[in-house]
């Protein structure tokens, strides 16, 4: 990718520009609230209060954050190799099979701390499997990964509908879900973590998979910036021609990257299935795979950016529920608008404010001007 813009200092590149993009997205969302005839300030108050006002609310916010860290990392890993994995939704959905199988088979015999690792492996395995096929098709058959992953989202939805109907549904049950897991299939809540800060988790399903998400974020950082594989992935993302010239096996990297990406997306299934519902339900992913795109774009595909971006969306989801409770004319679909606007301004229009910001920053600091002069516009 050619970047026809002057190089900015890091604080502007990674701090100011995403903040400006985010601010515009929120301003436009505020306009929508105005059109609906409500006060944007009141909505903002309910959102912040609903997300952080009480220990229980914070617990819910962090529960959503956990989910979005997984799906955000999944999209980010693929981004680094120049792949756009739009199929996190389907991979997370299929990853649920691994969690459900582990829990259904072992929840009555083993304690949770033994079932949990098996479920992690299962979730990652099925997620990776579902991402491997599009990856393989891209690497070997040249089919566009964006289109195949979109198609695989729909195929996953049909597959899971079928499996829940014919395989997982207990006999005689009407609703499309597995049976409720026993103690072995239920993850403990992180109430001890909350009580350090003097907060009570209440009914919030804030569970141990949050820690797994943090570990995964650290793991992704190590993978991308500290391993040979990560270096090869980044090389391919920056310049496929250079990667080929350097003898990096393109097909292998594509398939492995997609499997890691799918595995991360699949692990998202642990949080709602083992952490909240203690059973696998129809459509338990609820768009989290798509939120991952917004999170990865906001977080600039870096784990240190993805965690706050995931927290932001966790806040939107939890706070958005509170808004729709307090202000009935603003339903939770407001979040979908904000999510779309964030994707638009932080992703597709990320360069819109760059020329103006570049002028401003370079006008302000002589040091930045030197940097711009040497790196070239």
């Amino acid at each position: 990718m050619s970047v026809p813009y002057a190089k900015l200092p890091a604080w502007a590149e990674y701090g100011l520009i995403p903040l400006v993009n985010l601010a515009v997205a929120f301003l436009i969302s505020g306009l929508v609230v105005l059109i609906v005839g409500e006060s944007p300030l009141e909505a903002a108050y309910h959102m912040i209060n609903g997300a952080f006002g009480r220990g229980e609310y914070i617990g819910f916010t962090l529960y959503y954050t956990t989910t979005f860290i997984f799906t955000g990392l999944a999209v980010a890993v693929a981004f680094h190799a120049g792949l756009f994995n739009i199929g996190g939704e389907g991979q997370a959905y299929v990853g649920g099979i691994g969690v459900a199988l582990a829990c259904l088979a072992l929840d009555r015999t083993l304690p949770w701390y033994l079932v949990f690792p098996i479920a992690i492996v299962g979730a990652a395995f099925f997620g990776a499997l579902w991402a491997m096929i599009p990856g393989w098709l891209q690497a070997k058959r040249g089919s566009h990964i964006v289109i195949t992953t979109i198609m695989f989202n729909f195929i996953a939805a049909s597959l899971m509908n079928y499996l829940l109907n014919k395989v997982f549904k207990p006999l005689g049950s009407m609703s499309l879900e597995t049976r409720t897991f026993d103690a072995g299939g239920q993850l403990p809540k992180l109430d001890w973590l909350m009580s350090i800060f003097g907060l009570s988790v209440g009914n919030a399903p804030f569970n141990i998979s949050f820690l797994l998400a943090l570990v995964a974020a650290f793991g992704v950082w190590v993978l991308i910036w500290r391993t040979k594989l990560g270096y090869e992935m980044r090389t391919m993302g920056h310049s496929p021609a250079a990667a080929r010239y350097a003898g990096i096996k393109e097909a292998k990297i594509i398939v492995i990257t997609m499997m890691i990406s799918g595995g991360l997306a699949g692990m998202m299934a642990l949080n709602p299935i083992m952490g909240e519902q203690f059973r696998m339900q129809l459509e338990f992913v609820q768009g989290a795979g798509f939120v991952g795109i917004a999170v990865a774009l906001m977080g600039r595909s870096h784990p240190a950016g993805i965690i706050p971006a995931a927290l932001l969306f966790g806040m939107l989801y939890q706070g958005g529920a509170e808004i729709s409770f307090e202000m009935p004319s603003i339903s939770r679909d407001m979040i979908v608008i904000i999510q779309g606007l964030v994707i638009l301004f932080a992703g597709a229009l990320e360069h819109m404010f760059r020329p103006a910001i570049t002028r401003l920053v370079i006008g302000l600091s002589p040091k930045a001007r030197d940097v711009a002069a040497t790196k070239g516009a």
Binding site: S2, P4, V32, I35, V36, G37, F84, I86, L137, R141, G142, S143, H144, V146, I147, T148, I150, M151, F152, F154, I155, S158, L159, N161, Y162, N165, K166, F290, I293, L297, S329, I330, S331, D333, M334, I335, V336, I337, I338, Q339, G340, L341, I343, L344, G347, A348, L349, E350, H351, M352
Partner: protein, 323 residues
């Protein structure tokens, strides 16, 4: 005779289901042939369907509804164009963003304006497209074989359905027999060459995106003014993605689009009609498999196992005039 009757009914619902697919796939054809990928067909259709439902209800005029649908869809197309042509942003990301913004705002605005849970109020006959009865349709109904085909299959559709089928040869003519079409296809294959010839790549791509908006607008209007009587939440239900699949399945060619859309429409119509039907030899086919079949077929085709689908060469790449 009974079998024949079933065939006619099935064919008729295939035509009905295919109409929005054909319009949306042709819409995608225009932008993608010009080198702008568009996965926002779904969002544009949804936005158009909403605008059509609102305006047709308020003005009680179906044509105002259609016009509103086209205006909204073209505006959304221009947002996509601004992001991906002028700002050289990622076309995929922009399309995803549009899908989300529309999915959310149609529900929020619909609820705020009409308070019916995200629906627009049901339209009366004036607010909807009626059906066109071809001449002598009733008189010829009893003629064997040809009668049912003429009056059952060819007659009695929405004007937009006839428009959709007419748009297939019209699009072919525009793309393959006019100067604009030649340049549009050239800009999708080799924009540098078009630029060298002194033709604006940017303006050409914008025109292609506007064509896409118009066709998506008609597709959306069909959903809320013809197939339904008003807008319902998420009424496109993935049709934009099926149209995208059909576009690829058709290898970006107008004639193939017609057949791909009819095939996918037929699968849909068949799945609705024959839930749990036991076939000879294969037995019962799960309805979920039927629903997934268009997507599975597209994946197989894209992988080159049935022919090879080669996208426009410059597709997805923003054009930079000077480096």
């Amino acid at each position: 005779m009974d079998f024949f009757q079933v065939f006619i009914e099935l064919a008729q619902s295939t035509v009905r289901v295919s109409t929005p697919l054909i319009l949306a796939a042709l819409a995608g054809l225009f932008t993608e042939r010009a080198g702008v990928f568009d996965i926002g067909l779904e969002g544009k259709m949804l936005g158009a369907a909403f605008a059509a439902g609102c305006v047709a209800y308020i003005t009680q005029s179906v044509y105002m509804g259609l016009l509103a649908a086209i205006v909204v869809s073209v505006l959304l197309s221009l947002v996509h164009g601004y992001a991906s042509i002028t700002q050289r942003g990622s076309q995929i990301v922009s399309g995803v963003a549009i899908n989300f913004v529309v999915a959310g705002s149609t529900v929020i605005l619909g609820e705020a304006w009409f308070k019916q849970g995200g629906r627009t109020p049901a339209l009366s006959e004036d607010g909807r497209f009626g059906t066109i009865h071809l001449p002598f349709a009733d008189a010829l109904r009893d003629v064997p074989i040809l009668g049912p085909i003429y009056s059952g299959l060819l007659s009695g559709h929405s004007p937009l359905t006839y428009l959709a089928f007419l748009m297939v040869p019209a699009s072919w003519w525009i793309l393959y027999r006019t100067r604009f079409g030649l340049r549009l296809r050239a800009v999708g294959e080799n924009p540098g060459a078009v630029d060298t010839a002194g033709i604006s790549v940017i303006w050409l791509r914008y025109r292609a995106v506007i064509c896409c908006g118009i066709l998506c607008g008609i597709a959306g209007a069909y959903l809320s003014l013809s197939a339904g009587a008003g807008f319902t939440k998420g009424m496109t239900a993935g049709k934009g993605y099926i149209a995208l699949a059909a576009l690829i399945f058709a290898k970006w060619r107008p004639k193939n689009i017609l057949f791909a859309c009819l095939l996918f429409g037929f699968l849909d119509a068949f799945a609705i009609r024959y839930q749990g039907f036991a076939f000879p030899l294969i037995g019962k086919v799960p309805v979920q498999l039927m629903q997934a079949l268009p997507y599975i077929l597209t994946v197989i085709l894209l992988a080159g196992f049935i022919g090879k689908a080669i996208p426009p060469k410059a597709g997805g790449v923003p054009y930079v005039k000077e480096r």
